[in-house]
Symmetry: C2
Subunit: 435 residues, 2 copies
């Protein structure tokens, strides 16, 4: 006998989890489609060189990679961005730019699993590539807003900053050369606190004045009015410029669209990586700030420079699906409640009525009702237990008379409330009303 | 520069393919849900021992397997049946039996890619486990029927046989000892023809009479009436018995459900593997028989005996998704036609109207219309080309007056037919009407 174990950091998804995950994913997909975004897919396995680049003899330990039967060095994708860059380089001729894609799929990392971190997890990415425009930034930001709203979330804040503006500021105070280190330190603000950030900044810049200036910049969200905050940031960065202008366009549009209430300017958002060059953003749930950002991203200068000479600027965002699911559960979201396997179950009270059961089930399914038929020949108590375990809200019962007349009794299982003598269309109506 | 290549036997899915794949999958998922089936998911990577069993020093070459960073021998799943067996053994306490699950996901095999065969491909499995009943067999068969019907297919035949009945026949003619070899030979009938089957059967059975008898059994579909065919088979197998009875129950029920026309009894269906013990079936498209079975399966005696002592009989089926997609394309299915990225695109005729464009887009999306906004600042000809490449059927154009009055012109791009002075709700109506 082999023990039916799964690998450390990997998980099964049982129906009560998988039903919810599928519902969240299809809600997101619907919203993305409404915005004219299209889905793509890429292989789970790629050449390691394609995923990691040529440089560096040492392969990243966080990656699952191996030699396949043909001796090729292959790896499981560790994110959806690198495969997307490779995809764009390979399909440029077939695609119309600007290209708006989404991709919701699993990725794998070998890192040591911690609480809430897994070796196999979902990413949900969406990007607009092939254009550097405030209107692309706005489409991504407003889609983040509508995607989260479509999941029933209202109390969230998308905190936006601008990497170019931050660099202009660093240049203005003579610290541009240390920008990579500085933004990595600032990125840790929420983790290590401002005192520690200040001390690390002093170490890097060798200047207490510079450290103080940086702290006052990243703390400059002085007002509820983002346009005022922008003026403060502009002044700190030595005056108005194209980056301030871009941010003004974005925030005016968010106001015009009536969704500015869920956005703020937060100059402390830097998104660690060098990769970003324009707007950057993270999203926090007002009632669960401690779980961290559930949707982050930004504008980058060139997506696929590793694979093509074609210049591909873009802007995108990524939803942390596992974190989002955990948050929806924590917030008791209605989306998390309905894990019933069916709307109704036809109980088996008489083996001689089998034909009738399966015929009625077929009719209900044609009306769009999810209908189970109890298959086994067991006592009623076992049948009710089955319905309960599967969270099925209603049961259908037939008397001999019902079978002859084409009627039935619909029982609401939680309340044991019986509705006798219903026709099938009355059954459908009752179920639809409570769905 | 790194060449953006993918591995041999692996493929990208571009939007025009991915949109269709997603639509087919969600159509199937909806049908499965209507039947009370629930989704599960399992890790892509598992212990090699769990997937392949302990026995045999030599690991199957068709499997992608390797040592992970922790030195564990791990493998990519090569089907969805073995992970399902492991899943059932591991979650028996949480699940209500009979358990009805579906699983649509990728699997990987290292075999040499041939025409239409890939190293990464989708499987779509559905099973009812925990019960041995004709009514479970019927639920699977009728769900196969409704799943294919929901995809718009009508001209298909589900060819059903019974493994137990075949064995009873082999026992009756004294060939039961060679049953495994015999059913493998019979399984090749469509590939190698009946003359070659007869000669191979003679070799195995060492008896020309036995070979002839087997050929007449597998060719016994003498009548359009399956119940008559069953009588012939019973006679050849030495008389009526539980297996004949089960088949009679199944085919009567299919008649009662009004779907018997898509089913036939075909005693030559054996499904190679030892695994099956009851009904077995394959599905052929009447207009594309040459592509082979698009949906096959059968009843098995014990799903998870490798991992648990719990006896888990079941019945299931698997749709070959790639083959099905190829068939839908070949048949010019309507499902294959709609690969538009949006229902409508708002063209950019005047940068000063940007706010208006994005506001209108937001309103249309709230009405369920998939709406793109042309983001770049380019000439109309480039915008129309973008719409065409994305197969977007309609464009919205605004004059200065339109913006003031809240109206627009809706253009059907293929015919260049303009509908001027429409309100937004008239736009929605027009688009919904033609969808």
């Amino acid at each position: 006998m082999i023990q039916p174990k799964v690998l450390k950091g990997f998980r099964d998804s049982v129906p009560s989890q998988e039903i919810i995950k599928k519902q969240v994913i299809s809600t997101l997909e619907r919203d993305f489609s409404l915005h004219g975004f299209v889905p793509i897919d890429t292989p789970v396995l790629e050449y390691t060189e394609v995923l990691l680049g040529k440089g560096g003899g040492e392969t990243d330990k966080q990656i699952f990679h191996f030699a396949d039967n043909g001796g090729r060095d292959v790896a499981l994708r560790f994110d959806l961005t690198v495969p997307f860059a490779r995809f764009m380089a390979g399909h440029l001729n077939e695609l119309a730019l600007p290209f708006k894609r989404f991709h919701i799929a699993k990725v794998w990392r070998g890192e040591n699993p911690q609480k809430g971190r897994f070796r196999e997890f979902f990413q949900c990415d969406f990007d607009i590539v092939g254009i550097d425009s405030a209107y692309a930034d706005i489409e991504i930001l407003s889609m983040m807003h509508s995607a989260l709203s479509s999941l029933g979330l209202q109390r969230f804040t998308i905190r936006v900053a601008h990497r170019g503006l931050f660099n202009a500021f660093l240049s203005h105070i003579g610290c541009l050369a240390q920008s990579v280190e500085i933004l990595r330190i600032v990125d840790k603000l929420r983790k290590i606190g401002s005192a520690e950030v200040e001390s690390q900044l002093q170490e890097i810049t060798k200047s207490p004045q510079a450290a103080t200036a940086i702290l006052s910049y990243i703390d400059a969200e002085s007002s509820d009015d983002p346009l005022e905050t922008l003026s403060v940031l502009s002044a700190l960065a030595g005056g108005e410029q194209e980056h301030t202008q871009r941010m003004r366009t974005i925030f005016s549009m968010l106001g015009q669209l009536g969704i500015a209430g869920n956005f703020s300017i937060d100059p402390s958002i830097t998104r660690g990586l060098d990769y970003y060059t324009g707007v950057v953003y993270e999203t926090f749930l007002d009632d669960l700030p401690e779980i961290g950002s559930i949707c982050s991203g930004g504008r980058y200068n060139d997506l696929a420079s590793l694979y093509t000479k074609e210049h591909l600027p873009g802007v995108g965002s990524s939803i942390g699906l596992d974190r989002l699911l955990a948050a929806l559960e924590e917030l008791d979201s209605p989306l998390i409640q309905d894990v019933a396997s069916s709307d109704v179950i036809i109980l088996n009270q008489n083996e001689n009525h089998r034909y009738h059961y399966h015929r009625v089930a077929a009719q209900l399914r044609e009306s769009g009702v999810r209908c189970d038929v109890y298959i086994a020949d067991k006592k009623q108590v076992a049948q009710f237990k089955y319905a309960e375990q599967n969270r099925i809200p209603y049961a259908i019962l037939f008397s001999e008379e019902d079978v002859l007349r084409g009627t039935c009794t619909l029982r609401h299982l939680a309340t044991r409330n019986d509705m006798p003598d219903l026709t099938l269309s009355q059954v459908v109506e009752n179920i639809e009303r409570t769905r």
